[in-house]
Each structure stands twice: as C-alpha cells, then as structure tokens.
C-alpha cells in the first residue's frame, strides 16, 4: 500500500510542479511499484478528463450588458479603500458577530471615523477580496465572510485590544496572517515579544537558512500552544509598538485554524494532523496567572518546576527533515490547558 508521502509525491507529479530531486524520487517509485504506476495513471487520466471539458463561452453581447448595468446603476470606479485580504477558507461563527459588536464599541470608545473604517471599510457593497496589498478594494459583499482584520498600528488602542481578547477567548485555535516588510526582523521581534510571555521561540534550521538568504517569497509559520488570549493580544500589541517610519508589521488577519492549516502544519512537523486537534473548548478559567507576583513565582518554582514553553518557526517549504528544533518543540508539547489556544502565525512578505 502506498504511503501518504508517496501519494503526495504522485499528486504533485500530476501537478507538474516537482523539483528535480522529488521528480527523481517519483520516477524511482514508479520503477519499483506497480501500484504507484496504476495510481498515477488514474490521477493523470482524471486530470486529462478535466482538461478535456469543453470551454463554455458567453455571447458577444455580454460586454454590452455589463456596460448597460454600469450605466443603469450609475456606477463609477470608486475610491481606494481599506485592505481586505481574505483567503478562501471557512470562517468561524464568532467573527460573524464581530463587525457589529466591534463597530459599536469602537465608535463609542474611540469616537473616530478612522477606527470605524479599520473594521468595516466604507463600502458594504464592495466586491470580494482583492490581491492589492497597498491600496486594495472594498470588503466582500457578504458581511458573514468578513474575518477580523487590523492594521497593526490600531492594536495600540486599548479598546481594540480588549475586543480582541474577548473574541480570542471563544476560540481554541486561531490563525494570524501577518504582513511584514522584513521577515528576518519580524522573527527577531517575535522572539523578544514571546520571551516576555515566558515562551522561547525556536527557529527551525531550514527556516534559519531561508531567513539568512532573505527569500522574500518564503512564508514562515510560527506555531505555539497553550497561549492565553491575553498573552496573544499582548504579543500583538508589543509588535505594534513600532515607530511609524520604521514600521515592519503591517496588517493582521485573524481567522480560525482550519483542517487544511492543521494538515499543512502537521506535514511540516512530521506528525499526524489528529495530533494537532485541540480539545473541546471549555469556559475560560484563566488557569495561568497573567503576571505572578515574584514571591508566588518563587513558590511555584519550588513546588513543581514548569516545563519550558516553546514556540517554533518553520519555513513553509518542507525540507523533509525533522530538525533538532522541531524535535525539541515536539518533546516540549503538553496537553492543551483550558482557556488557552493554539496559535499559528503566518508571516507574509508585504
């Protein structure tokens, strides 16, 4: 029976996007295994069947209809508005309630149109998400598709921080897509910020190599467990504390961690996706004191030494090796405590 890795190689072979090394590995596999040959044949045939589907076309009058609709509705190319980088992924229900709640509270607390815009955007009738990062278009037409999105500078605001904490309390696992201008510097800042929460950030050796080489297209995953909502918020707030002229952290998109994310992450860690599933959510009980008094901390240390809390930076491109950093991280993993969450932070080059 073919292993998951072998199956993955075969599907990637059909995609036609394997590097030479992996391509050789597939050819070797095909040479040795009739099952692999049969599987590849079926996969290629199905891809061929899709390619052979007839191309459907619109009639030539369609462009005229679009122009007519533009004229009838009196549409004009609108002003550039807030960024909306919304990936094709499921949204968690908690964010469905976010817009209304956030707007009411922020408008009341901040009393500024800028704050209102940062959560909503000015045009509710806008299109789906766009690719433009600097000056992209309006949010998608359906409010329920909206994820929680911030400019980092807005995270300095106490009301925004409080709202973020409240919403994070409802989720056992979140994904933070963070747009940065300098990934290497971002990792360094993250190391410092996590250290404040007593978490040591390990950088996987492959990721280290990519960071040294400065590969802007590489995305980096920062994964941590057992973080409290207030710790995550404090972490983001620390990152937002940057001079405007040298700002590195740009935008933040918060969504729930999906099954796809877990599969991808588990591939990088070399573990089963099931091992990344969080336990059912229970009421937030604040099991870990936010800032223990020095005396209490000393007592706690005497009673039972706490294991070192680790987080891990991975390059998105898998190396196929389980680095010493990954091993150390996996060894340090503990059962998820009530009121804490899994955090996957994805660093994307702006």
């Amino acid at each position: 029976m073919l292993s998951d890795v072998q199956l993955e190689l075969l599907t990637a072979f059909v995609d036609g996007e394997l590097d030479d090394r992996r391509r050789q590995a597939v050819l070797q596999l095909l040479h040795e295994s009739s099952e692999a040959r049969s599987m590849l044949g079926q996969l290629q045939e199905n891809a061929h069947r899709l390619r052979e589907l007839p191309r459907e076309k619109l009639d030539t009058a369609f462009a005229g209809k679009v122009l007519q609709a533009i004229a009838e509705k009196g549409l004009i190319p609108g002003p550039a508005v807030m960024p909306a980088i919304l990936p094709l992924r499921r949204r968690m229900p908690v964010w469905l309630r976010w817009s209304a709640a956030a707007a009411m509270l922020l408008v009341a607390v901040l009393g500024s149109w800028g704050a209102y815009r940062f959560l909503f955007g000015p045009d509710k009738e806008g299109p789906g998400p766009m690719v433009e990062h600097k000056d992209p278009p309006a949010p998608p037409p359906q409010p329920e598709e909206k994820a929680l999105e911030f400019a980092f500078q807005d995270l300095r605001d106490e009301a925004a921080q409080q709202l973020l904490v409240e919403e994070l309390k409802k989720e056992p696992a979140v994904r933070l897509a963070v747009t940065v201008r300098d990934q290497k510097q971002a990792v360094s800042r993250l190391q410092d910020a996590l250290k404040h929460s007593g978490v040591k950030l390990l950088v996987d050796s492959t990721a280290q190599g990519h960071l040294q080489e400065g590969r802007p297209k590489t995305q980096y995953f920062v994964y941590a467990e057992n973080l409290r909502p207030d710790e995550v918020t404090a972490l983001l707030q620390k990152l937002s504390d940057q001079p405007q002229t040298e700002a590195n952290f740009d935008k933040l998109l918060v969504t729930s961690l999906t099954g796809d994310d877990r599969v991808e992450l588990s591939n990088l860690l070399g573990i089963d996706p099931e091992d990344l599933k969080p336990p059912p959510r229970v009421a937030f009980t604040d099991p870990i004191p936010a800032q223990p008094e020095p005396r209490k901390k000393a007592k706690a240390k005497k009673a039972a030494p706490q294991p070192e809390r680790l987080a891990l930076v991975l390059a998105q491109e898998p190396s196929g090796n389980i680095s010493p950093q990954i091993q150390a991280f996996l060894k340090s993993r503990r059962e998820q405590r009530p009121g804490t969450m899994q955090l996957l932070l994805v660093l994307q080059q702006a």
């Binding site: 199956l7 993955e8 599907t11 199905n46 589907l53 459907e56 005229g64 094709l88 789906g128």
Partner: protein
C-alpha cells in the same frame, strides 16, 4: 500587466466606460468557464461573472498592477461565486451541461456526441461533489492550467495550502469516479 491593459484601466478611471467593455470582452470567456465549472449552472455563472465585473469596475482604482489584472479579476469572481453559492439553494434539476456541448460538427456523429455529453456530465457531477476549496483548485490547475503561485494569489492562501488542497482534491475526485464506475 500589458501596456494595453494599463491604458484601458487608465481610460476607465478617466470615465471612459467603453474601455472597460474592452477589458470585459478580453476576459469574459475565461472567467465564465471557470465560474461555470464551479457553480455547475450556466445561468448562475453568467450572473456571477456580471456581478464580478461590476465589482471590479467599482474598485478599479484599487488595482495598482502589482499582480496580473486577470488574477485580480479571478479573485473577485471566485469570491463572488462562493457568496452566490451560499446565498442560493442548489438547483433541483440536473445541470444542462452536455446539452450545450453538442455542436454542429458533433451532431453529424450523434453517438460520439452522446458519449462526450455523458462523459462531461460524469466529470462535472464528480466535481460538484467536492468541497468548494477542492473544486476551486482543480478547476484552476487542470482546466485553467494555472501554476501554484498564481492559484495562491487568486485564492488568497499560501502555496503550501494549494499543494495540500490539490493533493486531497485529486484523491477525492479519484475516489468519487471509481465509486461511480463501480455503481454504473
């Protein structure tokens, strides 16, 4: 992005709506084919493509040319299609795919045309059983011939996610087609 596209966009922004008509004409068929395979309904696909173009027009100023204009349109269209699917109940009757493809040349060989129509129905129905995420990656990869990077940009997810989604989508499609073959 080509200089010609830049010129057309600039003209649109100056208020020359007809220039947008040129852009629509350039991409309408590719977008329609993709959305049609996604929604499995030509009528819905036409409405969605029109809505996507209107959305693009309204937000044209936001497009700065950092990515291909077509990728930008794609992203709007796919998100519009996803919203559409959420809002509208699935049709109770089967798709008309198959009827549309019998062209004049095929009608001279009715058996061949019928086989092709059946094959198309089979593959389209299998595609329809996949999740939106899996369907989207297969359409973009196999039907549109896009590369991982283009797909990642169009769908707004990392390249690794595209790779893993394609992997699962291919296996799932294979499973559905094998099951369908066994049952027939």
């Amino acid at each position: 992005m080509s200089g010609d596209e830049q010129r057309l966009i600039a003209e649109c922004l100056k208020g020359r709506t007809a220039a947008f008509g040129d852009l629509v004409g350039r991409y309408q068929d590719r977008l329609f084919n993709t959305v049609f395979r996604f929604l499995d309904s030509p009528e819905d696909a036409q409405d969605v493509v029109q809505e996507a173009f209107l959305n693009a027009y309204q937000n044209l100023r936001s497009f700065k040319g950092d990515s291909l204009f077509y990728t930008w349109l794609y992203r709007i269209a796919i998100n519009t299609a996803i919203s559409w699917k959420r809002k509208h109940r699935p049709r109770l009757h089967p798709t008309t795919v198959g009827q549309d493809v019998v062209d004049a040349a095929e009608s001279n060989r009715p058996e061949h045309a019928l086989e092709r129509a059946e094959e198309e129905t089979r593959i389209q129905q299998a595609l329809s059983q996949l999740s939106a995420e899996h369907r989207a990656v297969l359409i973009l990869k196999d039907i549109e011939g896009q590369r991982y990077e283009e797909m990642a940009e169009a769908l707004g997810v990392p390249v690794g996610t595209i790779r893993s989604r394609l992997h699962r989508a291919r296996l799932e499609l294979r499973e559905i087609l094998v099951r369908e073959k066994e049952n027939s």
